[in-house]
Structure formats: structure tokens, C-alpha cells
Symmetry: C2
Subunit: 475 residues, 2 copies
């Protein structure tokens, strides 16, 4: 039986990801029968003439998701009980049962690809998951009180259907105040549109601005959530390399319609964009009448030096769409983010938002406005900054202790994660063996990626867990 | 000065709407100067050779939104102080100031048109606004308790970034239970995707299935929120007439890729679709391999007879996307709705949702799951059904009392609004004069609309207000 076909080195998709998707699909479609024995990583690597590490990375993923299972002594098999794919298996059945019609998808629909989900964590697993805030230290009692106030008298705003696609007036005013003070963003409240997290901010931006075939300048490596949105709308991504001064914009021309950047803490490298580079980018945008999308996802957390003001605040004369989120400073499940739009695009963002989902939930917006107005946000951020700063130090100390100068930490002292390159080739395998959930940087590259780069989210882990986690990687 | 140009009778846009948009745009762009005197409805009607009623409807809208103002005795003028358009006026300035770049919009963006917003209500105005639930009778204390439970221990679900684009597991299970019991929908929880109200359900459906140029069968008159979504994605709408048995599907062929219907209480006419028509539609969908989108927006409210089960439950072998919402039975600001997808489309809806906004807010979902699990939903709906039933009677009685058989009420004894056609031509003018907010049915027609049809939302108004409102229309 032939286990993998069409591995394509020219694709921007990392090899282990191609393997993972092929195997998964083959298992789900029944091409590989449940219980069927699969060859060893060694045999596979040889037959495909790729590195064994690549094979076992894809393979470990399939095991952790329950597509493959090992029987002690006797090898590895296609799982007898397929997990969380009820849908897909039921699909097969109910299609037959109901003779369900196969419908034609739109270009957008047909282009959607399976997400590369993080390994779901089991008992005793240490998860270095990026961008997740600390749950224990969120002022939940305070938030409950503010929500309670809103719930006590359900505001009419929550009840009628008057046009509120831009969001709660009070919240927009507080955000304008917040971003101008903390990020030197220049805006009036009317330029702010409340959205369902930065993801919706990116989706609406792409929807309003991207035609299939348009060229989008994209950081390489760069944020997958943004990449998936732009490619889903048919954009051709032009990889922009990252160096010590941030994204390299030299060579951008009028063919590029939009550039997506994360200047304050480049995702995932953590490099912050130099002023020179910012001005270079702004000049280019002015002259080629292009749009800059600035994703300022976690600028609040900076542990040394002072942050540069937002690109938006520096970029007079260029069209900058500033995308902010409360997922990092509050919690992801809140689903509140915001777009700060150039004035001329505001009416379009409002309409796009109202077509997309009418408006975002109103009660949280009102409660969040109070949270900001009463100064809780800045207090909370100060506390978290101290906490996360110590956790970052714990990460760096442990890396030094166990890997010495064999672990290269990239980027600035900022954010909620650090990207690290190891000389040691065995880190991922030990992570899998010793129950450490680690995200490889491979998935973030548009081009073939350097090996042994990983993203360590430290914000949700106590220092002791961080130390233990790094220790496990070194064994 | 020439006040209106390019009134186009061939357009599906009602004339008064065309006028409204032209005038508004001319005022905002400064083509009509602030303080400038405008001619009388009589002069205008004559110069454009359209009915005076049409002119004054558009004009009343512009006044109520503050673009025009009257000075007693001396006539009507362009407002000196333009309202809620800070943005647009600031745009003008800041464009000059910052030399803001004019960016090219995508086809989607460029196609967006201004919403036809309801008149914003002032003091003493009686608003017959459709689809708005009653605020006073919502069990707010109970909802606060359930939300409080969720807030007490912020569920980890709200904090991490694990894949939850389909929504809260518990809620999906409760909904599967709810719709199979109340609506005879046939599904498993895995077919349910939680979305931000039915609006997002429609947006994701269109996104996955509609290519620019595709033909979509659309009820005429039909729901504007759906119409805007489909046309924004470039669909060509094929108007399907409504008769006493609901939407007329005869004549649909393979050119039509998708049909959008509201079978349980057609919006806005209120007619419910006969079983014969349903089977006819399903047969057509099977053979032309097309998709049916069933918007079941307020099937919970039926005041006589028993409702037909959902189209989805009847349609084995055809691809039906069932869209449901909690905006009517809970409150619109909650922004929770759901898609029940054919099994083969589930993975695509999940991915589209995760690209659109990752997932819907988690806490409400968990609280809503409890609200359903503890049986509060059905109790609440029973109470509201009684309440709304009485209000509908009050509406019909008042119409009879003041208009006799000059008011023709359409549709079944169901829903939260009734569509009424008047023989009397002066209803809209008296509504404006006597502070009654009334929605004309014109905007819901794809073709030239019959005159004097209005949509009376009765669910949010006490009986006394309903009686007073109708009385005001008759004076």
C-alpha cells in the first residue's frame, strides 16, 4: 500500500503538513482501512526520501489527534475508532441514506483548507500555547459586577434593531481615548468599528479590498489567521522577509495592493519594526495608493524600552487600517476587537459589518466601555505586564540553563510568546515524548522554513511550569 | 437648481428610495448648500412627473433624519447642522488635511449600498417596528442568574484558542434537541454551527455558495437583510411571486443555484408555504442539484392552527441549509443564531466561521444552553405567544374599527408583524404628521410595488399603544 503521494517541495506548505493532510484525508475517506498497520517512520522517510523527523512530526500530530494509534510491541495502526469526525463519518452514511445532493461551492468555499489546529492537550501536558492570557489573574469578580450592571437593566440598545453596526457609542469613544493615549493612534470615535475580534477585522478588510488575483504583501514568516483570510479571498501573497529591523519592504511596487504587517511585535518572530522601515513602508503606500493593514495584536505588553507609537499614528497621507483586539488583554472568548478605518472607508466597513452579522453583542460592549472608563484596563495591563515579564525571564533563564547558546531567542522583550531556534535537532520529538505541547514555526512560513524553530507562548504558564517544560525538552 | 436626476423607473429600487439616496448624497457632498431652500413636494412631483406622495415619503425620511428642516411659514431648507454624519463631513476635511489616499474597493465593497434605516424615533412616537421582542417581559433576572453562573468561573473555553468555530458543544446539543422537537428538523448536533444571528448564517451561506453572476431565487416581496447579502456577493436575483400558498416556485430551472425562502411565515407578507409548494420546491432542488436556504426566523409564534414542520425536516435528498435565530425569542443584541447544515457542507461552514470571526462569544452560548436545558425557553415562548397573540388581535380590531374593510391584513395568524394594504392613500402622510413610525412595504419588493402596503410590528407594543397608533393613522 502506498502511503503518501504528491509530496511537493515547491509548495509553500511544509512537508510534514502535506503529509498530515494527505494521511488524514486518506484515513477519513477510508482509503486507509481502520486497524490497518502503517510502516515505521524510517521506512516512510526512506520511501519518500524526506527526513525522518519530518515524517514523525506529521505522524505525532496524527496520533495526538487520534487518527493513528500504537500497540506496544506490534507497531502503529490506523485508529479503529475515529475521533471527533462524527460529522465526516456520518456524512458518508447520511449522504448514502438521504442521497444528499453534492452542491457546487463558490471559489471562496472551494478554496478553504483544513486548519492546522494545535495539539489538543491531555493530562500532565505542558502547553506553550501562544497568545493565551492568564486565566487565574483576570479580575473576574470585577467583570462579573460590570456585566451584572448591564444585565440588571437590559439596555434598549440590546433590544431593538436600530442601526448599530459600528458598535456601542460609549465603547467607541473609550477606545478612541485608549488608543490615542497608549498607541498614539490618531482617530475620532466615528472611525472605529467594533468587530468580533481581530479576525473579523481582517476578514472585513480583505472583503472590502481584495479581488481574486490581487497581490498582498505578507510577512514571512507571518500570522496564519491573516494568511488564511487573504488567500481565501484569492489574494496572491508576496512574501516579505523579516530582518532585525522588521519586515523588509524594499522592492514593493504598484502591483501590490495591500500590505499586512504586525509592526509592534512581528508575529511570530517578535521583531519590532524600526522607524526607518515604517517610513519606508508609508512612503511606498502613499505613492502606490495601496493600503496598509496594521495588526497591533498585543502591543500592550512590552518589558523593556518604550514601544514605538502605532504605524497608523505616523502614517499621515497613507491609508492605514488599524486592527486591535481585546482577546489578549481581556480574554479570547469575549470576541471583541476593533477596526480604526481611514475616514473614507468608514461607511463601507459599517455596511460590511451590518451585512456580516448586523452588529456585535451589545452587553459586553457596554461592560467593556465601563471597564475602560473606570481605569480598570490600564491597571489590569500593568499587573499582567509585570506577570508576563517574569514568565518571559523564566523562559529565557530555563533555555539558557538547559540549552546554553544552543537556543537562539529571537525578537524583542515584548509580547506573549517568544520564537526560539535550536541547534539541537531532537526538540520536537522530545516534546511529543515528554508531553510538552509545542508549536513549530514551520506553518508560519510561506517559503521552505528553517528547521527547529518553535513558538513558546509563556503568558498562560506559571514560572514553574515553564521551567519544567523546558527541562522536558532537554531530556 | 436641479433637485433630482436620473430617477429610473426600471430599477428595482422604489422611486422614493432613489430620491432619498440622491438628495442625501447631494446634501452630504455639499452639492446642496446648508440653509438652501428646497421647493415644495408639489413643485418637485411636477418637475419629475412622479406622484407627490412618493416625493413626500422620501422627503419625510430626510426630515426625520435631519437632512432637511422646515421653518414655520417660510418653507423647507437643507439643514444647517448635519446630523450623525461627522464621519462624512470629517472625511471631507481629513481627506484634504491628510491627503488621504483613495483606495480601490473590491467588487464586494464597491457594490455595498446605504442601508434603508428605520426612522429614528423621537418623543411620543409610536413605533410599529417589526421583529422586535417585548423588553418588559423578558425574564431578565433569570438570564442574569445564568450569565452569573458562567461568569463566576470563566470557563477555560472562554480563555484558550482551541478550535471552537462551530460553537459550544452543550448549546449545539440543546439546539438539536429543540429544533427536532419543535420544528421536526432532522439533524445531529455535529450539523449545527453557532453564528452571530441569522444574518451571519446568511452571509456564510452566500459566501460558500454564491459566485458573482449566479442566479438566486428570491421571494418578492422578500427580506431585505437577505437580499443585501446575496446581491453583495454578486447574485442575480430572480423574483419569485408570493400567492396564498406561499412562494411560487413553478418555472424554476437549472440556471438557479440557490433559493432563499421563509416558509413558516413569509417575510413580509406572513403567508405560510403550503405542503404542496414545499414538495414542489424540494423536487426542483433535488433535480437541479440546487440549495434551499430556509430562514425560519420566528416560527415559534403561531396563534391558531398548528405550524407545518420545517422544510428541512421534509426535504430528504435535497440540500437544505436551515437558518435559525434567538434574536426573536431572546433579544437581538444577544447575537446568537445557528445554521443546520447538510452534513457534506459542515466542514466548510466551520472553516468559513473560523475565518470570519474565529467563534461566537462563549459565555452567552453556555448560558443559553442552560436556558434551554432547564426548560425556560419553552416556558418563555408560551408566555410570549399568549402576549403577542393578544397584541395581534388588538391590531386587527383597531384596523377594523378605524378602517373597516379598507384595511386588508395579509398572511396567517403568526409571527411578530402583519402586512396591511390600505385603500386609503393618506396613511403614510398621517403617520408622519401624527408621530407614528411605520415601515412601508415598498423597500421589500424587487419589482415595482403596489402602493399603501405597510408592515406593522406589534410584538414590542402594549395593546393601548397599538390602538392609539392605528387611531392616529385614521385621523
Amino acid at each position: 500500500m502506498h502511503f503518501a503521494t504528491g509530496i511537493d517541495r515547491k509548495l509553500s506548505i511544509p512537508l510534514q503538513r502535506q503529509l498530515y493532510e494527505q494521511w488524514r484525508e486518506a484515513i477519513l475517506t477510508g482509503r486507509f482501512r481502520a486497524g490497518e498497520r502503517v510502516p515505521s517512520t524510517r521506512e516512510l522517510a526512506a520511501s519518500l526520501s524526506i527526513s525522518r523527523g519530518t515524517v514523525s512530526e506529521a505522524w505525532d500530530q496524527l496520533m495526538s489527534e487520534g487518527y493513528l494509534e500504537t500497540a506496544p510491541g506490534s507497531g502503529t495502526f490506523v485508529c479503529r475508532e475515529l475521533p471527533d469526525n462524527l460529522v465526516l463519518s456520518r456524512r458518508a452514511n447520511s449522504d448514502k441514506a438521504s442521497g444528499e445532493v453534492r452542491v457546487r461551492l463558490s471559489r471562496y468555499g472551494a478554496g478553504l483548507t483544513e486548519d492546522w489546529r494545535p495539539v489538543s492537550s491531555g493530562r500532565g501536558v505542558i502547553r506553550f500555547s501562544a497568545g493565551t492570557p492568564d486565566r487565574e489573574h483576570f479580575p473576574i469578580a470585577l467583570w462579573r459586577r460590570l456585566m451584572g450592571q448591564q444585565l440588571r437593566r437590559l439596555a434598549p440598545a440590546a433590544f431593538d434593531y436600530l442601526e448599530r453596526s459600528a458598535g456601542d457609542e460609549g465603547l467607541r469613544a473609550e477606545i478612541a481615548n485608549y488608543v490615542s493615549r497608549l498607541r498614539a493612534v490618531r482617530c475620532v470615535p466615528e472611525q472605529i468599528i467594533i468587530v468580533g475580534g481581530s479576525q473579523q477585522g481582517l476578514d472585513l478588510s480583505a472583503r472590502l479590498l481584495i479581488e481574486p488575483g490581487d497581490e498582498v504583501g505578507f510577512e514571512n514568516p507571518g500570522y496564519q489567521g491573516a494568511r488564511r483570510v487573504f488567500t481565501a479571498y484569492g489574494a496572491r501573497l508576496r512574501p516579505l522577509p523579516i530582518d532585525a529591523s522588521g519586515v523588509v519592504v524594499r522592492g514593493l511596487d504598484r502591483k501590490t495592493r495591500l500590505v499586512y504587517v504586525t509592526p509592534s511585535h512581528q508575529y511570530p518572530t517578535g521583531v519590532s519594526m524600526s522607524l526607518g522601515r515604517r517610513l519606508e513602508l508609508i512612503e511606498w503606500a502613499k505613492h502606490s495608493r495601496a493600503v496598509i493593514v496594521e495588526d497591533d495584536y498585543c502591543s500592550e505588553y512590552r518589558y523593556s524600552g518604550s514601544p514605538l507609537p502605532s504605524l497608523q499614528g505616523t502614517a499621515s497621507g497613507a491609508a492605514v487600517i488599524y486592527v486591535g483586539t481585546f482577546s489578549k488583554v481581556m480574554f479570547p472568548g469575549l470576541r471583541i476587537g476593533y477596526i480604526i478605518s481611514p475616514p473614507s472607508l468608514v461607511p463601507f466597513f459599517k455596511r460590511a459589518k451590518s451585512l456580516a452579522d448586523t452588529q456585535s453583542p451589545m452587553l459586553e460592549q457596554a461592560a467593556l466601555a465601563r471597564f475602560l472608563a473606570e481605569g480598570h484596563m490600564e491597571r489590569h495591563i500593568r499587573r499582567m505586564r509585570r506577570l508576563y515579564g517574569l514568565r518571559r525571564e523564566a523562559l529565557l533563564d530555563s533555555l539558557w540553563k538547559h540549552f546554553g547558546d544552543g537556543a537562539h531567542v529571537m525578537g524583542d522583550a515584548a509580547g506573549m510568546h517568544a520564537m526560539v531556534r535550536f541547534d539541537d535537532k531532537g526538540v520536537m520529538r522530545r516534546a511529543m515524548q515528554n508531553k510538552v505541547e509545542l508549536v513549530s514555526a514551520d506553518g508560519y512560513y510561506l517559503t521552505q522554513s528553517p528547521k527547529n524553530e518553535f513558538i513558546f507562548g509563556f503568558s498562560a504558564l506559571p514560572e514553574r511550569a515553564i521551567q519544567e517544560g523546558i527541562k522536558r525538552l532537554s531530556r
